[in-house]
Symmetry: C2
Subunit: 192 residues, 2 copies
Amino acid sequence: MNLLNFLNNHFNTAFTSEDQLPFRSTPRSIAKGTIITDYSKIEKHIYFINSGIFQMTIQHDLEEKIIDFYFADSFVCAYTSFIRQTPSDVRITALTDCMVETIYYDEVQAAYKESLLANKLGRVLTEQIYMIKSSREKDFLIKSAEERYAELIARRPDIIKLIPGYKIAQYLGIKPESLSRIRKDLAIRITH
Amino acid sequence: MNLLNFLNNHFNTAFTSEDQLPFRSTPRSIAKGTIITDYSKIEKHIYFINSGIFQMTIQHDLEEKIIDFYFADSFVCAYTSFIRQTPSDVRITALTDCMVETIYYDEVQAAYKESLLANKLGRVLTEQIYMIKSSREKDFLIKSAEERYAELIARRPDIIKLIPGYKIAQYLGIKPESLSRIRKDLAIRITH
């Protein structure tokens, strides 16, 4: 899906041309393996994903963990860095060849000054990702790795299907061996 | 601080009267121990805290964990429930006698329809709490309970000073015994 259709679907708008959007977007193809935002860089873009998969990672004590995977028809951005214009503590990498529409920081800020629509879009999209973060915070606080994995199977089968196991372990914040054990335990529970 | 001054400080506005705000707010005093939003209720308010402390909790398998503590000059709200108007999975309780200014869901939604300022306020405040949630998600993903406790001491001394230990353990997502051990280890490291 392109950005125009996405916005029309989610905001009851009736855009027929890119020119009607409060900020320009530029199509770009990104090769598998490309880092579009790196550690310590300042995020200058929001990407709307037309096709492909990205991952967002964070490093600590030389270990890398995965914050999330991003699929078609959603946005990806080092958003804290984007909001504050401070160095990013995350890296965004294309896991497949991807097509995106790029939105530029300066244009978003200019639109935010005067445009009711831009602020509505920004508010509602920020509410959406707030709810995702809030839900993950709750999961980390109250749920075991087993429960979080079982929910991933139920709620985000795209991740289970398309992402290799060692990356799913990095996403759950556990060691690959722990994920293997969880998978075995779940399989036993399902077959018995 | 009252809401008017808070907004003037954070948004370069120059409100001189409540009537200029895009939504009304109503002062209310809340007694220590009062539950202002309960599990399964639909959140109809955002509270700006003039004085006092609130906690937000979540339940799982009969165990209660603390999502966060909220102090004066900030907002508290079961925000996912507020946005979606679905039953809340969190409870908000006054830990002390509190003074708040209450903002009503219906008025916020009405203001969001037409008001540039309301959408700017909503967007920027949602960006702020997004960043808090995102940061806590990262902490859970990459940091040990020890590291999270050490950071709490450094960054949020108000919590260490004002909140009892068993509640800090519920906030860190660990058992009170584990917090005692962490505190001892830290004390040894500091004195040696």
